[in-house]
Amino acid sequence: MSALQDRTAFVAGGTSGIGLAVASAFAAAGARVMIGGRRADGPDIARDAGCAFACLDVADEASVVAALDEAEAQLGPIDVLVLNAGVAQPPTSLQGLEADVARTVVDTNLLGAFWGLKHGPARMADGGSIIVTSSISAIMGTPFEGLYGAAKAGASALVRSAAIDLGARGIRVNAVQPGPTWTPMNPMPERLLEIIAPAGRKGRVEDLVGVYEFLASDASRYVTGQAITVDGGVTIGISQALMGVLAAEAAA
């Protein structure tokens, strides 16, 4: 039997990318899954993935409460809560970031996780698992997405505090910190993704799914308050390939 058979899961931000891949994998593993998202075609996407759907805007506390209520009503107590909704920051220096865009980045990436952590546990079973999608930008400075990194650092910090708060109920709270991951929407050149990671290849969405399954399952039942970095080693050192390119350039 699969580790997620008959578990209930709610995936906030599940209509594309990592969230959709995770929701699909959970459903395929026998979990009963509801996706929360903003897109108009969300119900179709969810149905194709074998999941239910609820309208959700994580930047809006009332919307988070309503979606979680719907999940509990339809699925019963939630075993696995994935807080994955996020928005990218338009690449710009700190000086160039407009106020309304700045608020959107914080409202979605930091407060979005906060509303889920505030209202999710009351609708969860003891012993459940909460997984927050953070980013390696939480632990590493990056050019042109300073506030995104700050919001994600806040999300990783919330995870630690929530893990302490919820430990007595046996609810585990962890973050996943993906590194640069190749998707058709990623603006980073594919060649750069190939040389930046010490793992020697570019990261893919499929590389992340197994980590969410691990954190959702009993295989990680003593792991809480942690951020699992899934970056092919980007945050631990400079890859030999990148060093080679830089050395060749410097010598030229």
């Binding site: 893990a163 430990g167 007595a168 020697g200 197994g210 792991v223």
Partner: protein, 252 residues
């Protein structure tokens, strides 16, 4: 798949070896004490190597055994270690050498010895077993903590070096775990166990199998882009700054 597990005679090492054998995989178990490896006799796909992991000879032997019995070496779990409790002024040169030899030198020698065989494997992975004592300071465990801190950072350097050659390298950092290493202390001083339990947000100590499952995840394809990661398996201890103890069930 064939995995070498050092320190397979007890605790986390034995739990890991059992988990892999139960999954139908082949295991070479290594321990200093041959008596502790007799449990492997009941398993067809297991081989035992007795020796000191701080010696080149034992490390060469374990790799030869894997290749001789099972034809390949796919994963390496460098788990063997000793603990030592005592203030620095009572930790003399011989003890210092012994702790570093068993806990740190063994990891470097293990990586060196296994490298040629791992490079020929399809999807090779290494997991080192450090400790949360390797992440922060600890009273009366200075040399142990230093040796484990060395393991953490050796893992990162190995990840940067070996990633481009296709070998994933990660580290687990167990917190308080109910192993043979901890049993005598907990039996003699039950109040230590109670104090440890209070400091853990999940309000209990780990069973060795709970660490073993994380090790199995890290060597599995589910962790395909997890590389150079340091994963605490500590019930949330390191999520807490430590100024306040985590709440008790029903507490505020």
């Amino acid at each position: 798949m064939t995995t070498i597990v050092t320190g397979a005679g007890s605790g986390i090492g034995r739990a890991t070896a059992e988990l892999l054998l139960d999954g139908g995989e082949a295991v070479v178990g290594v321990d200093l004490d041959p008596e502790r490896l007799t449990w492997l006799d009941a398993h067809e796909r297991a081989a035992a190597v007795t020796g000191d992991v701080g010696s080149e000879e034992t490390n060469a032997d374990m790799v030869s055994e894997a290749l001789w019995h099972f034809g390949s070496l796919d994963a390496l779990v460098l788990n063997a270690g000793i603990s030592h409790i005592g203030p620095l002024e009572h930790t003399g040169p011989e003890l210092i050498d012994r702790i570093l030899r068993v806990n740190l030198r063994s990891v470097a020698l293990g990586l060196r010895a296994a490298l040629p065989a791992l490079l020929r494997a399809g999807n090779p992975a290494v997991v080192t077993v450090a400790s949360i004592s390797g992440l922060q300071g600890e009273p009366a465990m200075g040399l142990y903590a230093a040796s484990k801190g060395g393991v953490v950072n050796l893992t990162r350097s190995a990840a940067v070096e070996l990633g481009p050659r296709g070998i994933r390298v990660n580290c687990v950092c167990p917190g308080p775990t109910l192993t043979g290493m901890a049993a005598p202390v907990l039996a003699a001083r039950p109040e230590i166990g109670e104090r440890l339990r209070r400091n853990v947000p999940l309000k209990r100590l780990a069973q060795p199998i709970e660490v073993a499952r994380v090790i199995r995840f890290l060597i599995s394809p589910a962790a395909s882009f997890v590389h150079g990661a340091v994963v605490p398996v500590d019930g949330g201890i390191t999520a807490n700054v430590g100024q306040y103890p985590p709440p008790d069930p029903g507490g505020s």
